[in-house]
């Protein structure tokens, strides 16, 4: 059952996953994107200033 008011997925997921092969490493594009997003989030957490830090100093 699908909610009629919900839009369709912006990405067509109705096909087998795509994979990246690099030597012995094989990883799906979805997992690779997720790991890259986590690395970006980690870098942002290190670099971005925390709200209120200047006031507390």
């Amino acid at each position: 059952m699908r909610f009629a008011f919900l839009p369709l997925s912006p990405i067509n997921l109705d096909h087998p996953g795509r994979y990246v092969h690099w030597g012995v490493i094989q990883i799906s594009v979805a997992n690779l994107v997720l790991i890259l997003l986590m690395v970006l989030l980690f870098a942002a957490a290190i670099l971005l200033p925390f709200p209120g830090t200047r006031r507390r100093k």
Partner: protein
């Protein structure tokens, strides 16, 4: 001259049986102002310190959505719109839980967060990470669809090859369901509570001191790292 009142605190200290012993031990290990602090050191004002509590928030959503799925059953989560929504909520809260926990792990690894007698804090965090992987794996096995059948048949050979297939049989749906909804969540929950209590007891690990300082605490910290 009146005699001073008798000091009964020492006598009271020893009374109370095992409940009194537990109370005294708990208060000594976790004073209320340390258990529920309202201030943190200035170095905690960084986004990297947010991922620990974000992981716990995601864990609460995982438990709540999993409880709803347990109440309503697979016909509901596979066959109704609201069931699909709660099923997806359970999946995506787990995705966020695992992603935030790994970012928390990265942050603590590069801080060498086991410094300053915090080894047990590090160990409880690492073991809860491993237990979470097991919980997520058994979750994949109990979806009751083709994906769970595929995952279980792929996993059985690996588990049999290391000799645990007879005790942890991924083709036994009932056993995997019990691991997923009882044993592993209980284990992860106990480990997370212990982890948070240890953080409260020992405090948040401070950053490394600047290299040109000769702070004796830094020497202690270096010793802890080497140990």
């Amino acid at each position: 001259m009146p005699e001073p009142p008798e000091d009964t605190s020492a006598a009271q200290e020893e009374t109370g049986g095992w409940t009194g012993w537990v109370r005294r031990r708990a208060l000594r290990s976790f004073p209320p102002e340390q258990l529920l602090p309202d201030k943190q050191p200035i170095y905690v004002a960084s986004w990297i310190y947010v991922f620990g509590v974000a992981t716990i928030a995601a864990f609460i959503v995982v438990l709540a959505s999993g409880g709803l799925l347990a109440l309503r059953g697979p016909a509901w989560w596979h066959g109704s719109g609201v069931g699909h929504y709660v099923n997806s909520l359970h999946l995506w809260s787990v995705e966020i839980f695992m992603a935030f926990m790994v970012i928390h792990l990265w942050g603590k690894f590069f801080m060498a967060a086991w410094r300053g007698k915090r080894a047990l804090t590090w160990i409880t965090g690492a073991v809860s990470f491993l237990a979470s992987i097991g919980t997520a794996f058994t979750g994949y096995l109990t979806q009751q669809n083709l994906a769970s059948q595929w995952v279980s048949t792929q996993a059985k050979d690996g588990l049999n090859s290391v000799g645990i297939g007879a005790y942890f049989n991924v083709l036994d749906f009932g056993q995997m369901l019990m691991w997923h909804i009882v044993l592993l969540p209980l284990g992860v929950g106990i480990l997370v509570v212990a982890h948070v209590l240890l953080v409260r007891r020992h405090g948040v690990v401070p950053p490394f001191p600047p290299k040109d300082t000769h702070d004796p605490d830094s020497a202690v910290a270096q010793g802890a790292v080497q140990a």
